[in-house]
Symmetry: C2
Subunit: 219 residues, 2 copies
């Protein structure tokens, strides 16, 4: 069956926000979106409420909705949250990763390594997403999986506003990925995998914090 109009509106907005078409601060005017979708405002309102609950949109009464604003603080808080959740997701997922998935992850990481010589940030980010998805996808706890996904979405929505690139981070990242794969392949203890997966993201976070003259994350 065709999706409901409310569902279509939700998907459209979700995609435009996470893809970066609608950047932070972009106003979501009910009438305009309804017109674009060829529907009335009621389903659009519902879609916006859902996006609001996911943190992608902020909503003010009698004023309207806009794509959630992004500043450095918010971005870093989101990264910190994701570090924690994704670390757990990866550790819980690890025992269920089979040989094929491991091979796929290694191959993605190789592609990332190849990209280092002629760097393409967009492609690198894409591959990075794929890599991590393979790692946490088997997590048997659906709540955690959902939170990881939301974290990525929020980060994606904010990434459009360009943050300074951390020099040398890409190269480190590839190495950390390889290390993570080794731990998983060796059936390392969950706590160790969690620690490594979390640290992988925290390192980036701390680089940003250092650049802003802020203390490192304690976790």
């Amino acid at each position: 069956m065709a999706p409901s109009k409310s569902e279509s509106a939700y998907r459209l907005l979700h995609e435009k926000i996470t893809e970066g078409t609608f950047t932070p601060g972009y106003r979501l005017v009910l009438g305009a979106i309804a017109a674009e979708l060829g529907c009335s405002v009621v389903p659009v309102r519902e879609a916006i409420r859902r996006l609001e609950a996911e943190g992608l949109v902020t909503f003010e009464r009698n004023v309207g909705a806009m794509v959630a604003a992004a500043d450095m603080t918010l971005y870093l808080h989101t990264m910190q949250t994701l570090a924690i959740i994704e670390g757990a997701a990866t550790a819980l997922s690890a025992p269920f990763i089979d040989a094929d998935q491991l091979a796929a992850a290694r191959s993605i990481n190789q592609a990332m390594a190849d990209l280092l010589v002629d760097f393409d940030a967009v492609r690198f980010t894409e591959l990075n997403n794929e890599f991590h998805q393979v790692l946490y996808r088997n997590c048997p706890n659906p709540h955690i999986l959902e939170l990881v996904q939301r974290g990525w979405n929020r980060l994606a929505a904010m990434r459009s506003s360009s943050f300074t690139h951390i020099p040398g981070r890409a190269r480190e990242s590839v190495k950390e990925h390889a290390n993570l794969l080794d731990l998983i392949e060796a059936n390392a203890p969950a706590a160790q995998i969690e620690q490594a997966a979390r640290a992988h993201r925290t390192t980036t976070l701390n680089a940003y914090l250092a650049a802003a003259n802020l203390p490192a994350s304690p976790l």
Copy 2:
């Protein structure tokens, strides 16, 4: 200004679900709720969409919404998620807990200890909530704080369907609380506080898992 009807509907439903008036499986019929609130169905639909995104209700097209069903698996997954998030929240919060708050927490824990001789599960749960709130309230990361709150809400919504009580757990719990407070007072490293706070919840989780002949949580 008076809250919008959509907001009122959201609050009403949220409260009834987390307070246990509406138990898992309870059908949320749009017309009935609208009538109870003295409004039309449009604001109610919005409220339900938000609750859906928070995981408190499930929604099926052309069928309607109901309070999210609760089975043991779901309950345990939620506990596991909360263990991870709350552990982090408590650790991040710890450096910002002042002497007054620490004293308040100790006093709440003492009240819990006093309750052990003439046990009252409802009151004990209330105090437990208060205790943990004091511990994670100062967490400077608003995303994490929000996730903790949502986790508690989901758990509260499910608790109504009575799960077996773990014998002796209350006494252990009070001891673990005291230990946690000592760590915080001594400015223990964040990782250690996180570990202790997480373990506090994981112990309960594992007791349930053991009772169901399932393996313990790896984290």
